[in-house]
């Protein structure tokens, strides 16, 4: 009878160890990975905000985190496109041309940069994803510059730019 106590204790230790190690494989370091990754981007807070709001992030590797950010880029681009469409009808003439140029730029982001980046990340050729993210940032920057300071798209352009440079920095970690 007295043997049972140490035996039970032993079983308890073994089980606890087992459970703890299993827990670690489910949540290896990923809260840490998100933080480590975001530290290497120009905008830590924004990076954390976007990644933390995606349920896939905690179990993603760096490629997965990059793909999440590319998806955020896609959303930002579509938001900008919608805003441009809203504005174009009622914009003053001097803005119309610029809005059209911006529409073209955001279209390029959506039809070229984003698909290229997704394919590049999925297939293990990350440099084309970095190129796409850099280009998206440049397009947003060019769009903003085109308004000579009176931009109706500043929030959207800033968002696009910020998200793109974060994405680019994350992709750089894969190279």
């Amino acid at each position: 009878m007295t043997m049972l106590k140490p035996l039970a204790f032993l079983i308890l230790i073994v089980c606890t160890t087992f459970v703890v190690t299993q827990c670690r494989t489910i949540q290896p370091n990923d809260a840490n990975l998100i933080q480590q990754t975001c530290k290497k981007t120009p905008n830590y807070a924004l990076c954390i905000q976007y990644l933390n709001s995606d349920p896939k992030a905690p179990s993603a590797d760096v490629t997965g985190l990059a793909l999440i950010m590319v998806n955020v880029m896609k959303n930002k681009a579509n938001i900008a496109i919608n805003k441009i469409h809203q504005l174009i009808g009622k914009s003053p003439p001097d803005q119309k041309a610029t809005l059209n140029s911006c529409a073209s730029k955001y279209n390029a982001i959506v039809v070229a940069d984003i698909p290229s980046a997704i394919e590049a990340l999925q297939k293990g050729n990350p440099k084309f994803a970095e190129q796409g993210a850099n280009d998206a940032a440049n397009e947003a920057n060019s769009c903003e510059n085109g308004f000579s300071g009176k931009s109706p798209l500043t929030a959207e352009n800033n968002a696009m730019y910020d998200v793109s440079v974060i994405t680019s920095a994350i992709v750089r970690l894969l190279l």
Binding site: A112, S116, G124, Q131, N134, G146, S148, L175
Partner: protein, 655 residues
Amino acid sequence: MDRTNNSNHDVPFSYVSLPIGPHEDEAPVESRGKWKARPVVFCGLLVLVSLVAFNGYKGSNGNITTLTSNEDLKQKTIPSHKWKPVSRGVSAGVSEKSNRLFTKSNNIGGMLFPWNNTMLAWQRTAFHFQPEENWMNDPNGPLYYKGWYHFFYQYNPNGAFWGDIVWGHAVSRDLIHWIHLPLAMVADEWYDQNGVWTGSATILPNGDIIMLYTGATDALVQVQNLAYPADLSDPLLIDWIKYPKNPVLVPPPEIEVYDFRDPTTAWLTSQGKWRISIGSKMNKTGIALVYDTKDFKTFERIEGILHAVPKTGMWECVDFFPVSTKLDIGLDTSARGDDVKYVMKVSLDDDRHDYYALGTYDENGVDFVPDDTNKDVGTGLRYDYGVFYASKTFYDQSKERRVLWSWIGESDSEDADVAKGWASLMGIPRTIVFDKKTGSNLLQWPVEEVERLRMKRCKFHNEKVMPGSVVLLNIGSASQLDIEAEFNIDKKDIEKIKQTNEEYNCETSGGAANRGALGPFGLLVLADEGLSEYTPIYFYVVKGSNGNLKTSFCSDQSRSSLATDVDKSIFGSTVPVLEGEKLSLRILVDHSIVESFAQGGRTCVTSRVYPTTAIYENAQLFLFNNATEATVTASLNVWHMNSAFINDKQVKLKS
């Protein structure tokens, strides 16, 4: 596509032997003997001769075209306002060093340049290889077979951006005039479903052609596959068969499944086996794996690696080949001997540049040893200091030369690429030989066949260019040029200036606007007459301690365009100039690509240029000298270049 800028070349030029005076028409009449129409022929010839003579005389004084006027030769300083950054509004925002990412600017008064079709159409090249539309990247499997040069390339049939990659195919008799053929390979097997990527050709002694290429499988693993022509009796090699038991190589266990690509051409070992190399990485060390095979179907992993260099990252597009140290010819990839050195070349994923090192190869030890460990693979010399990546050589057995192909990407925005419907070019193929004079680098030079495109030549001899002057060269429209130039700095100027510890670096120099005692001087290409846009290609000489001269060769895109959404880096490097050598350069200008070669190809710089104004008949060529002390004497030959009409021909095949 608008190719009408060639229209001013419809007039007969001086390469056709022209009688210059009326007395030269007697000969044809004499040899014809009795003929009733003789007087008519005589008169017709007289008319023709005078027309031609009038044209030839009007255009220039024979072959020597003078500069615009004496005024231009006087001490005309470059107006300082013209040398300030031209991109309005984007103040300090555009960083020369950034890899195509502009820093965000809080700018005011920025100007957006909506690219119009006229500007975009001008960008298409006249004599560089490019498909009719869409995206292209790495050159693949170049080879010479049965009288034809074959060229394959990474191609996206669906857009002007990377993706959905398949193998394009084209053939040529002369490496310049190309005929597009149907796609050679598409992504139709599980082992290349996600990409038919880069590969190389090996021609076996019995005439078989082996193509090894990387496939991205349905499970996104990078593997190597074998393919071969369906019909070797077809010189156009239209159809290709993929080996049914592909893949022939899968990533070894210690390598990541996405770090295993771009197999090389094979070379014969002394054991009679074929050996290939595949680039990869372990952590941040770039490495080259080695495999042997007898039949290209089963491979044996050779222990160790051909070479490794820490901190260089993933090695893409490895190339490994012998060069002769004695002869100016190329060598077969399997050549070996006493007068042979080896070149190891890699494309670094990290910085998108191609590096090479010269060294020795120990077959038994499977070891490449660089001649200079300070200039190792990935840390030393580059093939080209501009936009130039994923390059690959092949041995052209018909002319005993080694020829280099390279992918030249765009430096503009994706928006422009989508609008113009295409992205990327190939550089003009270059021969590669060992530089016997320095013993420590390669020489690259455009293949001689490109010279067949030369038309009218304008020659300038010993033009003195004073410090701080710009000289318009009156050659006419300047979008398609082949330029050979030599420069001499007055010895007295060199002697009188002080020695300096200056280390000039093209990339951080601020470009041609920043004046030194002995530089910069050179040419302004794709420049408009008002100099609102121009691209200086120049030398910059520094007199260091011991009075030794150090020369840099640069291509400056910082003022190449008024547009704000194009890359405006400055590219270049130092170039060895030996005792007694003049400074010499060659430039190929072909619309939006400029390829520059210094000292016979010791240092090469390729750049992409996208002017908004200096296009069509507004594109001009200038000589310039922005040094403060040196008077420079320049002699040049400038040829107008014909088009190669690459995208005017389509081979339509019966199915």
